[in-house]
């Protein structure tokens, strides 16, 4: 058969039933238990939250163009960065990859028809939405001005705002996380197809598994911290008030016990995406599969023991500082191992520069910078100087935005054909990837210097000497804002006018590519049996010179 006929036959098949076209009523979407539709519901939600949080950041960066503050008063600025932090952490980063790509791809990667608990999955979306709306109501009604970290006694006794609503929203989103994590862990344990042993799992699932362990074990402690915070704020009983026998630092312990593992929740799924994309676009098996798999698990475990590094100057003992500093250095080792293994995967590969790969290459650079600067703050002697300055702000944005959002876009572009059945315009994907990389560095690299020079974080106005670097950073933010709008535009465009996608546009390994694009509701017509490891691309020596 000629290629044209083949393609049009394939096209015919795709125009037929898929999970998108199966049922078309609004209720079939709002009451769906199909993991793919839930993934899209989540995708719409977190995109909205991302742009809301981003809008807050835009106003902040614009305000910081002048030393006195260009646009808003101190109080408003404080509310803005609180809003930015709360939305970005709990309503964008913590859910991001797991609830969108994870929900969609996990059963497909397992050759399964759905997750273990589809109704729990839908419930988790509703919990997320109710939590999000509740928090947004608080933020819109009058705002909260305590920073996303809610330190006591500022938050319990001195701040005027709608903290209770925001805390309630966070609690609800926490339950959403726990439900999602629980679903993934049980699914990966119980719904693997015949022949898929643990060491034949795609690495994306290893990292989702590690993420889910943290979801499930760390989030309850956040819930408790929020409950105690609300109790204290409402009743002033003295839990965190030294005048009544309480201890304000105790809140920090409870808060960071969750919030440090939370940052690993944010990055681990990104690691998983890197492994998938780098193998597909190097057309080569992953280097050091077991090391990458176990490094995810060890990061998840060690992450629970480093929270005290947020409190080196908070009044904790020197011994506590020493222990947490050592552990913080240790937790960076598995991440370094991953980077080395990824580089080794590139070695002797057959590299293509499609958009997902460009995002991943950007990830490796940005993550390395972010991770290395983490050492600066893990080190006790230097953290004393850098704590609560723009250095820390730059460090975590390099990981959370530079690395993590790049990974998210990489995964989004990689699986876009599978999810939507359409190809995105490749050239625009590449342009956006490059613009994001450039804009991001322009925004946050100056902040490392600002931090060293002493500029504190959460400052609405600053000493005039810091202005030049702030202006550069704000210009970079403008570039970044444009860069983020690009995918929004061309991906939406592709939904209407993009080329139809074949089942396996990248010629990649993985069960998700063995079914049509977009998949049917039940994913697979029959159960696959796995007979070998993942990423079994032909070895370089087995190939013709290409």
């Amino acid at each position: 058969m000629s290629t044209t006929t083949e393609r049009s036959l394939l096209t015919l098949q795709q125009r037929a039933d898929s999970y998108l076209t199966d049922e078309r009523t609004i209720w079939s979407w709002l009451l769906t238990t199909d993991h793919k539709r839930i993934a899209l519901l989540y995708f719409a939600s977190i995109t909205a939250f991302f742009f809301l949080g981003g809008a807050a950041a835009a106003v902040m960066r614009l305000n910081l163009v002048t030393p006195e503050g260009l646009l808003v008063e101190h109080e408003m600025y404080n509310r803005l960065f609180t809003m930015h932090g709360v939305i970005m952490v709990w309503f964008f980063l913590v859910p991001a990859i797991p609830v969108t790509l994870g929900n969609f791809i996990t059963p497909l990667m397992l050759g399964a028809r759905d997750l273990a608990f589809p109704r729990v999955n839908l419930t988790s979306w509703y919990l997320f939405m109710v939590g999000g709306v509740t928090a947004l109501t608080g933020l819109a009604a009058g705002g909260v001005d305590t920073a996303w970290t809610f330190y006591t006694p500022l938050s319990t006794g001195y701040s005027h705002g709608w903290m209770m609503l925001v805390c309630l929203g966070i609690i609800l989103s926490g339950y959403s996380s726990i439900a999602t994590g629980l679903n993934f862990i049980v699914t990966i344990h119980r719904l693997r197809p015949p022949g898929m042993t643990w060491y034949r799992l795609p690495l994306f699932l290893w990292s989702l598994y590690a993420t889910s362990v943290i979801y499930v074990l760390a989030t309850p402690v956040l819930t408790m911290a929020m409950i105690l915070l609300m109790f204290e704020r409402f009743f002033h009983v003295g839990l965190f008030d030294p005048a009544l026998g309480g201890d304000p630092v105790m809140f920090q312990h409870l808060f960071w016990f969750y919030s440090h593992p939370a940052v690993y929740i944010m990055i681990l799924p990104g690691f998983g995406v890197v492994s998938e994309v780098i193998t597909a676009f190097s057309r080569k098996g992953i280097f050091g599969y077991k090391f990458i798999a176990w490094s995810s698990v060890s990061i998840a475990v060690i992450s629970f023991f480093v929270w005290g590094h947020h409190m080196f100057v908070a009044g904790t003992s020197i011994y506590s500082g020493i222990a947490f500093s050592l552990l913080s250095f240790m937790v960076s080792v598995p991440s370094a191992i991953k980077v080395f293994n990824w580089l080794a995967t590139l070695h002797k590969g057959f590299i293509r520069f499609n958009a997902p790969m460009l995002y991943i290459l950007g990830f490796i650079g940005l993550f390395t910078i972010g991770g290395l600067t983490g050492l600066f703050v893990a080190s006790l002697g230097t953290d004393v100087h850098l704590h609560d300055t723009y250095f820390v702000v730059a460090h975590f944005h390099y990981i959370m935005v530079g690395a993590m959002v790049s990974a998210f876009f990489a995964g989004l572009h990689y699986w876009w054909p599978k999810i939507t059945g359409k190809m995105y315009p490749e050239i625009w994907g590449q342009i956006a990837a490059a613009t994001i990389f450039f804009g991001f560095n322009m925004t946050f690299a100056p902040q490392f210097i600002l931090g060293y020079l002493g500029m504190p974080r959460r400052y609405a106005s600053y000493d005039p000497g810091y202005q030049v670097l702030n202006v550069v950073s704000s210009l970079g933010a403008a570039v970044l804002a444009v860069a983020y709008l690009m995918p929004l535009i061309y991906l939406t465009w592709s939904l209407f006018a993009g080329k139809n996608a074949p089942s396996n546009p990248w010629d990649a390994t993985g069960l998700e590519w063995q079914t049509q694009s977009p998949p049917r509701t039940e994913n697979f017509a029959f159960t696959p049996v796995i007979t070998g490891p993942p990423y079994n691309y032909p070895r370089p020596e087995q190939r013709q010179h290409v």
Partner: protein
């Protein structure tokens, strides 16, 4: 563009560590980015290069780079921890200055009672101990030129040690978000020659020194009623530990341990008397939490520090 001053030896040491971290990071980044660029160009699809075969036994490579990473990280940890411990070591014979943070200003008080707001004058070349506390929320006394900062907590006394070796004006920032005017809670540390510092003290002389003010408060709040600190006429029916020569001496506690009476111990005993009860005494001292403000506490602690073990006034009952 602003530059960052270096006001002390500690600052210089911190800069060394920071510089080394920058150097090491630059090396690693160059390695990673370099390899990445080389690989994606050499091994791009269509480069026509003969890839040969890929290493099968990768175990040694993995262990190798893991061990190297661990070793470097451990070395950096030791360096940083060592610096941190030395930053926090008490220094000899310090000039003790009290700092009280409140929304949104810094109130500084020198031993002689001289007060300043949002400013700190200290002599160069002298060990300085800052005793930090807060009246309301958690603040942070940040001194970039010294590469130091410490959170300032309500109801607690924290010590920070300085030794400036360069005269000049340096920034103080509040480095823990504390509310609306957090970014306005800034000040200046002025390091002066000792003679200039003396002159400044005289110009800003207080009517009473901290110790004298503290003595007045000691009587006013009824401490003298039980603690008979060397004042004639101070008699009471309650048996309470003597405070003469208390500062710096070991104190046996009811739970069998012994602590050294430093400023923190004295400060906390006034606010939380039941936490560390002295051996053989009943826990009957009332708490003065919410009764005595932090500023007054500073004076009382200064007074108690000044009590000489050999100063007994006539008429005191022996302890």
């Amino acid at each position: 563009m602003i530059g960052l001053a270096t006001a002390s030896d500690g600052a210089r040491e911190t800069d060394w560590l920071l510089g080394s971290l920058v150097g090491a990071s630059a090396l690693v980044l160059a390695l990673v980015m370099g390899l990445m660029f080389i690989y994606v160009i050499r091994y791009r699809h269509g480069s026509g290069l003969d890839r040969g075969s890929v290493a099968q036994k990768t175990w040694r490579i993995e262990v190798g780079w893991t061990a190297a990473t661990l070793a470097v990280f451990f070395g950096l940890f030791i360096w940083g921890a060592n610096l941190f411990i030395r930053i926090n070591l008490p220094q000899d014979n310090p000039l003790t200055i009290n700092v009280v943070g409140k929304q949104w200003m810094w109130k500084i008080e020198h031993p002689g009672g001289e007060k300043e707001i949002n400013a700190l004058h200290i002599p160069v070349g002298r060990n300085v101990q800052l005793l930090l506390t807060s009246e309301d929320v958690i603040h942070d006394f940040g001194l970039p030129a010294f590469r130091l900062k410490r959170d300032v907590l309500p109801g607690r006394l924290e010590a920070m040690w300085l030794h400036a070796d360069k005269v000049g004006d340096y920034r103080v920032f509040c480095d823990q978000f504390c509310g609306t005017d957090h970014s306005a809670m800034i000040g200046t540390v002025t390091v002066m020659e000792p003679a200039d510092y003396q002159a400044w003290l005289e110009r800003n002389g207080a009517s009473t020194s901290l110790v004298a003010a503290g003595q007045a408060l000691f009587i006013r709040y009824g401490c003298a009623g039980c603690h008979q600190a060397g004042l004639s006429g101070g008699g009471g029916t309650v048996r309470a530990p003597s405070l003469n020569g208390l500062f710096g001496s070991p104190v046996p506690l009811a739970d069998g341990t012994t602590v050294t009476a430093d400023e923190k111990y004295i400060h906390d005993s006034i606010l939380y008397p039941k936490l560390q009860v002295v051996a053989s005494y009943d826990p009957v001292m009332p708490s003065f939490q919410s009764v005595i403000a932090e500023e007054d506490l500073v004076r009382i602690v200064a007074y108690i520090k000044s009590l000489d073990p050999h100063a007994f006034a006539a008429g005191d009952r022996p302890q």
